[in-house]
């Protein structure tokens, strides 16, 4: 079955992951700009990183037949340094011209501080100005509710089109508000600390399939790109058809990301006869 992995930190993963993802049906990944595990000191370090994810990674993924797209941003953890952040933001428009850059992300809150908010707003403004898609990270663990609420408050005062905004890492206690406000939401499947494949399928059963993305957010931490495939198996094991699975794990990311014309993978519709074939 064809799958799109919409949130994948490829630079932290090996070529073997690409190979195994290709073997399990992944046709495209999208890489949001994120924290490197340490706070970077110079704007140039970010610029080099943006070059890496917009130029080198697509070539590495292409060796396995996977299309690689990316996002540029100052991530929430490093947004605590406003001077550096503004310097980086100034350079981001150069990257919007690149053929695989889809938008501004991931931005948002980590500890929900004033500095983070200033940089979040500046990046949302720039995304609106340059007509870019927006990907928002919501905080981990005990900060998640507070950060998600503040995110929605800030956005409500800005001129964003909610259909072009994806609020990521939602769980049972944070999914309702963003979904009801018309945003896209994402489940991040993570061992131990975020959502599990089973809980993701629970939420799909409770909230339906519209405007929902599922990703495994594989990065340099304890994470696993294949929690996404586990979720597909879990979904199918509960009796849903291949086409239902394709709607969620392929067509939804194609619909959201496809709002940027550079993302040219279209939703697919199986012939009726092929439904009910096992994964």
């Amino acid at each position: 079955m064809q799958i799109i992995q919409p949130h994948y930190h490829a630079i932290a993963r090996t070529a073997q992951d690409y190979e195994r993802m290709a073997m399990s049906g992944v046709v495209a990944v999208a890489e949001p700009a994120f924290w490197a595990g340490f706070d970077r000191l110079y704007p140039e370090t970010f610029i080099d990183y943006f070059h890496q994810i917009s130029e080198f990674e697509p070539t590495r993924a292409a060796e396995y037949g996977i299309k690689h797209y990316c996002w540029v941003a100052v991530n929430p953890k490093e947004a605590e340094n406003p001077k550096l952040s503004h310097e980086v933001i100034k350079h981001m428009p150069e990257f919007y011209k690149k053929p695989t850059v889809l938008g501004v992300g991931e931005i948002g809150f980590h500890k929900t501080t004033k500095n983070e908010e200033e940089i979040f707003e500046a990046q949302v403004e720039q995304a609106i100005k340059y007509d870019q898609l927006i990907l928002i990270h919501t905080p981990h663990l005990q900060d998640k509710v507070r950060g998600t609420k503040r995110t929605l408050e800030v956005l409500s005062h800005m001129n964003v089109n909610p259909e072009r905004v994806w609020i990521d890492h939602v769980e049972e206690h944070t999914i309702r508000e963003p979904l009801e406000a018309g945003y896209w939401v994402g489940f991040t499947l993570y061992p131990i600390t975020k959502c599990s494949p089973k809980r993701a399928v629970d939420m799909l059963e409770m909230y339906g399939h519209e405007r929902i993305l599922v990703n495994s957010s594989a990065d340099w931490g304890p994470s696993d790109p294949f929690t996404l495939q586990q979720c597909v198996v879990q979904f199918r094991a509960r009796g849903y058809s291949v086409q239902d699975a394709i709607e969620i794990f392929h067509n939804n990311p194609a619909r959201f990301l496809g709002q940027n014309p550079k993302f040219d993978i279209k939703p697919i519709q199986l012939e009726a006869i092929e439904e009910n074939v096992p994964v």
Binding site: E172, I192, T193, S196, K198, R199, D202, E205, M206
Partner: protein, 79 residues
């Protein structure tokens, strides 16, 4: 050297949190399916009763040792 209690808690906290969340989600899942099929009242099944008893054991007797042993005995056929 044995770890301190705080060191153990540091290592175990997130995994224990995760196990509790998975348990809560599993119980919700059973309830939702029961509601969906139009079931009224609680689902009567001895396994569900065992799970509830295990949860009570953990909360009401949380100060007692050998929790895992007591749960395993609860789930055992001792006849």
């Amino acid at each position: 050297m044995m770890q301190t209690a705080l060191q153990v808690l540091d290592r175990e906290y997130l995994e224990a949190r995760c196990a509790l969340l998975e348990l809560a989600a599993a119980l919700d899942r059973i309830d939702r399916a029961h509601d969906h099929e139009g079931g009224t009242g609680d689902l009567n099944d001895s396994r569900l009763e065992l799970l509830n008893q295990a949860i009570r054991t953990l909360s009401e007797e949380s100060h007692l040792p050998n929790r895992s042993e007591r749960l395993l005995l609860l789930f055992s056929d001792l006849g």
